[in-house]
Symmetry: D2
């Protein structure tokens, strides 16, 4: 049942930056591509802050969306026109600005649809409790016929 990647972290990262204008405004990095999974990090700076001093919802959504896109492309190859059909995000805790990390996991990779779970963690608070889960998302992608 485990899915094997067909692109490396570097390959998928280069490809997404090449095709996707908007991606470059987010400072994300693909940390790892493993079978059925992916890990990214990004730096959330002052442009992403909402009232109360925490990272905004649209920033977390965009990070979840790019993590899902990279996860799927890494496993199906250069299919730029794969499109999100549904993304449901739960905001669990308010993240402080700093380095966010996202882990993504394929829970279905069919011919027509791929579904994945994304977890986003906030910066380590330094108080010994480690990273806090700040958002969880489930995304469905439609894969065009090949």
């Amino acid at each position: 049942m485990t899915h094997q990647p067909v692109m490396t972290a570097q390959e998928v990262s280069d490809y997404v930056l090449e095709i996707f204008n908007e991606s470059s405004i987010y400072n994300w990095t693909v940390e790892a591509v493993t079978p059925g999974a992916v890990a990214l990090s990004m730096l959330a700076d002052e442009r992403s802050i909402r009232p109360g001093g925490t990272v905004s919802g649209p920033t977390l959504f965009a990070f979840a969306d790019v993590a899902a896109y990279i996860l799927i492309l890494a496993h199906i190859g250069k299919v730029a026109l794969a499109v999100t059909t549904n993304l449901a995000i739960n905001f669990l805790n308010k993240p402080l600005p700093g380095r966010l990390t996202a882990t993504g996991r394929l829970i279905k990779l069919g011919k027509r649809l791929a579904v994945c779970e994304i977890h986003i963690f906030g910066p380590d608070s330094g108080d010994g409790t480690g990273q806090t889960l700040v958002a969880q998302a489930t995304a469905t992608y439609s894969i065009p016929p090949r």
Copy 2:
């Protein structure tokens, strides 16, 4: 059951721009605040384009989120710390760049939670079919104790 607004379109628009740094990067306008509902428009330009020449998912998410936020604040007043707890968005048709419109409707306004439906329409294609529904979202906001 119909909820009466407590702020005008101008008041809620000014308030959100004042408290929310990131909002200003999107060119949205509050067109109308009516009982239980809101209408906004925004101009999606070349910064928002994804592969295939259509408006990106994060742009549509951010538009849905600000529409929901404005809808709720217009009905509960200046409660900046109301936070999205869940937003599920369905991408239905790919929007061409141009003027998008969003309509939002309160389906629950409780003491602790507010739930709303948002519909986003793409630019009129000029072929007589009118505007196309490009995305639908359901958002839940948690309202802090007052």
Copy 3:
């Protein structure tokens, strides 16, 4: 953009009862099939009650799911193997036992995916406020190749 039904209320109702064992345990009736839309009613009795004396979540889910299924079949014909891929339901108010009604609306009918919105209303409380919206659902169906 409006979709024309290809089956009547009676035809789609007969078809679903024929193919779907479990449906018969819910007392639903198809009230109307109109272009892009459907209306059903059901009687929620004591078997469907949860703590607090209100109709249970699984009962509301099953009602939303059958409403979505009937809405889609009424517009694509006898395609029993159309399957729900995603259903997100928001429980808004606790419904008292009695006659529930559901309205469904197609918001996308593509070759591969159909998406619909369902609203479920509780019994009229008799206090002049009319029916209460008790649940809202968004469902996605995958349509098999024909």
Copy 4:
């Protein structure tokens, strides 16, 4: 960050059967309650079958919902009036009738809201691939003031 249960598997199971009429029609068993998590099993028999010979969506929804309810009660105690506010379920693979298992994990346990992830696995197919993930759900519960 890990949450400690306040009820055993037996205690929470007895409590839910006592307060919740409808639960008894599903043959579920609480297999384990551990910090922040729960495991259940149920037998899906012929009453739960939909066209194509697989377990119906409402059956999987009801199983996910009871798993979430048991997970939350096991960690907050006998609070019967905790209510689901949102449940989004993805149907990933069609389960054959037989023994289903569900695992649930708390991803947030706040004063007012609890959020959990549920994974449902179908019967072992006996072909060496082990259990198949058939559905994934995310549920939000509102916790009444205590």
